[in-house]
């Protein structure tokens, strides 16, 4: 999928995109790969309003006037990787911790009291400190409180995904971080995460293992965003074509300040982010778009009408961060600090229904 674009000259492609071509693409019902890429071009920036109008209609038609809510729960921050942009980098000095079953339960109770039924659990990459058996134990506890449990952990083998699905995990999130291979090697100097392909193919293994929802993404700020957005979309499209019964979505996370202090390599403006989301919506009308609390509240409020379908709320990126007693260093700084109630209020004010529950454990 990505290999076809390894040597692709994105800049030359963007130079030959015309205004007439963009208008024609916006009017189409089904976009090709190159149509999608055209909408990510600098020239398409002039047509953001037209794209937004269509993307908004398309989102409402496919998903309704609703936004799905969830929150992340960090189980452990032990990590053997050296991702230069991540607060959990093995070389960073921070208190390493993993939640006990009792602590998971305490966090679960606090989150469940907000009404949320969907949770995303995260760990760093440490097969010693947070092995699959540990994740499984945590899922057993969380099942009592939540009807949908997603994982965002290090890439696993297919049989390990099968094991987690069998105990009640139904959703999977994994960011490739950066699709460009050279950049990937540069930002992941050590640890098992250096294996580009094993990570890239993790979503497929998860789909084969029976996950219901799969979310992919590139961390924006590491490499040319237009190319990264394009490859993320292609990855999502490939997964949807290969696994038609899976609900596929993307995240467009922008880099945030973190303990390592690594600054973004490229700037991705609000306008760029919006262009990415709109182009994706027109390319994949039924694809989900997840917006995290990395983004500031004012922008998130606007993204409700610009193609977003799912948002996190009441987030903490620290292990045990939902319980008041813990004051840990997070993976990165969040921007939108609103709780679930405040998010719901904002959605109602925009004439949108917050959805707390959209799956039922069977």
């Amino acid at each position: 999928m990505c290999q076809r674009y390894d040597k692709f000259d994105f800049d030359s492609f963007f130079k030959q995109v015309t205004d007439a071509g963009i208008k024609r693409i916006i009017a189409k019902n089904r976009l090709t790969e190159t149509d999608f890429l055209s909408l990510l071009s600098p020239r398409a920036e002039k047509y953001l309003e037209e794209m937004a109008q269509k993307a908004h209609r398309c989102t409402v038609q496919n998903f309704g006037r609703v936004i799905f809510l969830f929150t992340p729960m960090y189980l452990a921050n032990y990590c053997v990787n050296q991702c230069v942009y991540c607060g959990f980098n093995v070389h960073n000095k921070l208190e390493r911790k993993k939640l006990t079953r009792a602590e998971v339960e305490r966090e679960a109770k606090i989150i469940a009291a907000t009404g949320l039924k969907h949770i995303l659990i995260l760990t760093g990459e440490s097969r010693r400190e947070s092995p699959v058996s540990y994740i499984r134990e945590c899922v057993e506890v969380l099942k009592k409180y939540f009807t949908s449990i997603s994982i965002e952990v290090y890439p696993l083998e297919e049989n390990e995904y099968v094991e987690l699905v069998s105990v009640g995990v139904d959703g999977f999130t994994m960011f490739q971080e950066v699709y460009n291979k050279e950049a990937y090697a540069e930002f992941h100097p050590g640890g098992p995460k250096r294996n580009y392909r094993f990570r890239l193919e993790a979503p497929e293994r998860a789909c084969r293992a029976g996950m219901r929802t799969v979310n992919v993404g590139a961390l924006l700020g590491l490499h040319q965003w237009r190319a990264e957005a394009f490859l993320t979309g292609l990855h999502a499209d490939y997964l949807q074509n290969t696994f038609p019964d899976v609900e596929v979505s993307i995240s467009p996370p922008r880099m945030r300040p973190q303990l390592g202090g690594f600054p973004p390599k490229v700037e991705v403006s609000d306008k760029n982010l919006v262009q990415y989301i709109l182009a994706f919506r027109l390319f994949m009308p039924r694809g989900g778009v997840t917006i995290s609390t990395r983004e500031p509240s004012e922008l998130r409020d606007r993204l409700v009408r610009l193609g977003a379908t799912k948002m996190s709320a009441g987030s903490s990126t620290a292990v045990g961060g939902h319980s008041a007693s813990c004051a840990q260093t997070g993976q990165f700084e969040i921007s939108d600090k609103r709780g679930v109630m405040e998010m719901a209020k904002m959605l109602y004010a925009q004439n949108y229904q917050p959805v707390y529950k959209d799956w039922q454990t069977l």
Partner: protein, 256 residues
Amino acid sequence: MKDVLIIGGKEVSSRLFLGTGKFSSHRLIPEVIRATGSQVVTVALRRIDPEYEEENIVSYVSGECILMPNTSGARNAEEAVRIARVARAAGCGNWVKIEVIADNRYLLPDNYETVKATEILAAEGFVVLPYMSPDLTTAKKLVEAGAAAVMPLGSPIGSNRGLRTRELIRILIEEIPLPIIVDAGIGRPSEAAEAMEMGVAAVLVNTAIATASDPVAMGRSFKLAVEAGRIAHLAGPGETHEYAQASSPLTGFLRD
């Protein structure tokens, strides 16, 4: 003679069934139900949350309505069956709309798995209304499997593209001895009226009402359209002819 629709032994007063998944607020639902006069209301089990009364969609469906949980999210017969059982155990009654979808791009139903789920659930005493791609052979199998009605799509869910499967639905109306209910695709009241004129027993609408600028007014419009279409069907519309009637008939010279 009174014109009644009977499904699963129950008299259904309104031929406009309502879907609930896309409204901008659950709080709108009671008002929309009043406007549509709907008696049968479908809710996805995946959205039902008995633990959060205020945000539980079912709290907004009047007790006078027949609650028809649907199996949205089921990818095969087994999941549909499990969802239906969970719904019944949760006190949602024994009506169920079977929805088995293994295609997230167009949301087209899997007819084969739908038949399998229908057979199992009908045998367990459910009143089963299966959503299906209009196909005569499948519809006949659904009859054998014990379905209470057959619900063909007019066009893909949420597409608002109208009765694109008109000819196939016409065949189902002619051949299937169960109520035919058009579920999915109806985007405008005129299309609902058209379906009713053709002789379908009812229509199920969500997107067209929920995503209208004024869902309550659109709900009322659908109510009137469905009633108008039904009356027209019962009134027996005149035949249509491709050509004008010949004023000099070819056989006019023949005498008894």
